[in-house]
Subunit: 123 residues, 2 copies
DNA sequence: GTCGTTGCAAAGCGTTTGCAGCCTA
DNA sequence: TAGGCTGCAAACGCTTTGCAACGAC
């Protein structure tokens, strides 16, 4: 991450503009509007570097490939649409998971994923 | 799932005996103690069939390959120990996820994964 | 004997890596 | 001009599929 390149800019821009976490393929498609000859390997390499630099956060969802979003957002979780495969942010997190943690266990963090149909697909 | 075979029995037995969800490779290793020439493709095909028959449940954990457990247990989630990589069941679940679901979205199900240290590793 | 099931190998699919050439600093 | 970065293609690991042989019923 030493040099500034058109490719890296395009990849970052794609993620910054997105309203939801993106997968590498989605990043490629969007970034190619800026750099048509962009390769998928470059997307993977830059995503990896951006995650290492803590500028991106990995969104790990059960059963599907990892997606990425810009780091620094408030605590939130995701809604995974089974129809369009899109991933959307869920604002709040009401639950207290300490109370369901077994005795003796040390709870550090939690992931919640909601499944169903997004607003568009539910129509 | 029409015929009873040694392979299918061995695969089912491996999952039934396990105290935690298993991945396909783990199932293969255990089932080969019964059927040494068992192939990984057969494991995948049978797991798929058993899931379709609702005799197995898919345990989808973020970031790691799917694991499988015998179906029919009460609603529960999992605690994933970052130290020993073990997966433990979490009994209860205070579901209030409808209220955090965005307007227009149709919520069908949810997954919760807790991370931290299990009782043994937390000592 | 039928045809569901199996084992092997090949094919997919998403991700990573090797390498020669490119281009930023 | 050095060497980080890129695009291409090959390599990878995991999962699925094609196919001929096997074996449950």
């Amino acid at each position: 991450m030493e040099r500034k390149t058109r490719q890296r800019d395009a990849i970052w821009l794609a993620l910054e503009r997105a309203s939801r976490p993106l997968g590498p393929q989605e990043v490629l498609e969007r970034a190619r509007q800026e750099v048509p000859r962009l390769g998928i390997a470059t997307v993977y390499r830059n995503i990896k570097a951006l995650v290492a630099a803590a500028r991106l956060r990995v969104v790990e969802l059960p059963g599907v490939p990892d997606r990425y979003e810009v780091a620094g957002k408030d605590h939130h979780h995701h809604f995974h649409c089974r129809s369009c495969d899109g991933v959307f942010e869920v604002e709040t997190c009401s639950d207290d998971f300490d109370q369901v943690t077994p005795a003796g266990f040390y709870l550090e963090r939690h992931e919640v994923t909601l499944y169903g149909l997004c607003a568009s697909c539910a129509l």
